[in-house]
Symmetry: C2
Subunit: 336 residues, 2 copies
C-alpha cells in the first residue's frame, strides 16, 4: 500500500494538516517542523494522492490534448510542443487520438474534461458547433483553428500563401495551381481563399484551383495528373504529405521536379528535408503552436477572471529547398 499523509504525520509526530501545509504552503509552518516533515516524507517516499487532492481543490494538474492522428507528423510535432511546455509547467498531459473521426472528438473531450484543468483541441475538421458546445463545457484552447471567441493559436496562413506565390513568381512562374486538402478543413479553406485572392492580384498571373483531396499521399497522387493537365508550371499543395504524393506521381509520369514543374508544400514537417528533391515548404511553427497553446491554457485556468477572448497568431516562414526552380529550367541543359 502506498504511504499517505497520515503515515508521514505519525512518523514525524505531527498532524496531517501540518504535513499537508509543509508541502503545499511551506511558509505557513515553522522552519524546523517543516524540515523534519519534509525529510520524513522524502524518506518514506511519500507522494500526495492526486485523486484526493483533485477532489478537494478541483484542480488536476493535468491538461488534455485531442488530435486526429498522432502518427501524422504534423500532429506529432504539435504534441511535442505541448509536452515540452506542459512538463516545464509541472503539468501532465492526457492525449486522445480520434483516429481521424471528428464525430468522436466530442465524446473524447467530454471524457477527458473531468480529469483535466483544460483542453487543447487540434481538430481541423470538427464542426464549428461542436467546438462551441465544448467551449461552453470546459476550458478550451484551439490550435491551428479559429472559431468565434474561443481562445486559439493559429498561424498566418495567408502570409504563407503570399510567400509561396511570391517565391514562385520570382522564379518566373505565371500559372499556379493549388491542390487542396479536405473541403471540411479549416486551414484548407483559409489557404484556398488566400491563394485565389492573392494570386488574382497579379495581372500577369493565373491561378487554378484543382479541387479538394485527401490529406494523404494518395491525395497528391490523385491530383498529380490534374496538375499537369492544368498547364500550371508550379503547384502549391495543402500540406507536405500531399506534396509527396505529387512528387511521386510526377516521378511515375517522368515529369522532372523542379525542371518541368515546381512543387511547394505546407507545414514543413521534419521529413520534408529528407525527400529527393527536398521539399520547398511553407514552414509552420508546429512545436511552437503546441507550446503557445499550453501557455494560453494555463493562463486561462490560472486566472478564472481572465478575459475569455484570446488569440495568438504565429508567423510562418517559407523554407526553400530543391523542389522549386526557375520556370524555364527545362530549356537549359541538365544532367542526364
Amino acid at each position: 500500500m502506498a504511504v499517505s499523509a497520515r503515515d508521514v504525520a505519525r512518523v514525524a509526530g505531527v498532524s496531517v494538516s501540518t504535513v499537508s501545509r509543509a508541502l503545499s504552503r511551506p511558509d505557513d509552518v515553522a522552519a524546523h517542523t517543516r524540515d523534519r516533515v519534509l525529510a520524513t516524507a522524502r524518506g518514506m517516499g511519500y507522494r500526495p494522492n492526486a485523486a484526493a487532492r483533485t477532489l478537494i481543490t478541483g484542480r488536476t494538474g493535468n491538461i488534455g490534448l485531442i488530435v486526429p492522428d498522432i502518427e501524422n507528423p504534423f500532429f506529432a510535432s504539435v504534441t511535442k510542443g505541448v509536452q515540452l511546455q506542459a512538463r516545464s509547467a509541472g503539468y501532465a498531459v492526457f492525449i486522445a487520438d480520434s483516429d481521424e473521426d471528428p464525430s468522436i472528438e466530442r465524446e473524447l473531450a467530454r471524457n477527458l474534461a473531468k480529469q483535466v484543468d483544460g483542453l487543447i483541441l487540434c481538430s481541423p475538421r470538427a464542426p464549428g458547433e461542436v467546438l462551441d458546445d465544448l467551449a461552453r463545457e470546459c476550458t478550451l484552447v484551439l490550435v491551428n483553428r479559429r472559431r468565434g471567441d474561443i481562445p486559439s493559436v493559429t498561424v498566418d496562413n495567408r502570409e504563407g500563401v503570399r510567400q509561396a506565390i511570391g517565391h514562385l513568381r520570382a522564379l518566373g512562374h505565371r500559372r499556379l495551381a493549388y491542390v487542396g486538402g479536405p473541403a471540411t478543413s479549416w486551414s484548407n479553406r483559409e489557404r484556398l481563399a488566400a491563394f485565389l485572392e492573392l494570386g488574382g492580384e497579379h495581372e500577369d498571373t493565373e491561378v487554378v484551383d484543382l479541387g479538394f483531396f485527401q490529406p494523404y499521399v494518395s491525395g497528391g497522387v490523385a491530383a498529380g495528373d490534374l496538375a499537369l493537365a492544368s498547364g500550371a508550371t508550379a503547384v502549391l499543395a495543402y500540406n507536405d504529405v500531399v506534396a509527396f504524393g505529387l512528387l511521386e506521381r510526377f516521378r511515375q509520369r517522368g515529369v522532372r521536379v523542379p525542371d518541368d514543374v515546381s512543387v511547394v508544400g505546407t507545414d514543413d514537417i521534419p521529413v520534408s528535408a529528407l525527400t529527393s528533391p527536398a521539399l520547398t515548404s511553407v514552414g509552420l511553427p508546429l512545436v511552437s503552436s503546441g507550446r503557445a497553446g499550453v501557455d494560453m491554457l494555463l493562463g486561462l485556468v490560472g486566472d478564472p477572471a481572465a478575459v475569455p477572448v484570446h488569440h495568438h497568431h504565429l508567423a510562418v516562414q517559407l523554407v526553400v529547398r530543391g523542389s522549386t526552380g526557375p520556370r524555364d529550367a527545362a530549356a537549359r541543359p541538365h544532367p542526364g
Copy 2:
C-alpha cells in the same frame, strides 16, 4: 458547477446509492428505477467525477505511456497503437515525452504512477536498474525491450537481421556493414549481436561493424563515408532514420543507390515508403506493439494474482523496396 450524483438523486427521487448503482452495477437495481435514473442522469448531463471514484476504488481507468520522443515516427506509431487499443478498452492514456533524456524517465514514471492503473515504458536507453526499480513500484510493461522478468513486448530483432542478410546475400552481396545506433540502446545491442553472429555463419561473407551512431539523420550522414571506405557493397542501418542519413550522404558523394551500394533500414516507419529510392527495411509491427502492450497491461491489472512473468515476441517482415539491388548492378548499363 458540474452536476453530481446527489443532484441526479434529488431529481430522480432516489438516493445517491441508487444512482451510483444504476451506473456501475445496473443489475442490482430494479428495471424501472434504473431506467428512470439513467434517463435523468443523461438528461442532466451527469458525468461521474473520476477523482472521487478513483479515491475509493483505487482504479483510475487510465494508463500511462512514456516515450523518448513523440516526434520520432517510431514512437509515434507505437503511441498510435497504444491509443487505439486503450480507447477500445475504455481507458484514457497519459503520455509523457522524456525528450530523449533517460535520466528523467524515472521521475516522469513516478509522477504518472499515482494517476494510472499501469505504465507502458518505451525506453530504449534507460538503465536496466531503473526499470527494475519502477517495476517494483508500479504495474509496468516494457515495449521494445526486455529486462529480466518484467512483462514486455518485443520484436524478433534476430530474425529481422537474418532476413536482411539473406536478402542481401541473395542479391550477391558478400561484404556487409552494420551502422549501429547508440551504444546504450537495447535494440541496437540485439541487432549488432545478431548481425555479427549470423553474418559469421557464412564462409563466403564478411561482416563489418562500423560503430555506434546517433539515431538521427546526422548519424547516418556521419556513417556514410565509413561505410564506403569499408568496402562493403551493402549496409544495414540501425533504423530507417539513420538509413536516410546514409542515402543523403551517398547522394552527396555521387554514390548511386542501389547501383553502387544497397541500403537496408530497420523499423519500416511510414515515411520510408516515400523516399527516393524508397527504402528497403526490416518491418517491425510498431502499431501492434503498442496494442499488445496495452493488452498485456490490462491483463495484469485485471487480475492482480496474474503471473507477473509475461513476454510477447512479435514477428518481423522485411519490406523490399528500391534501395537494394544486385551487387553487380554497377557493371550494367544504367540511365544517365
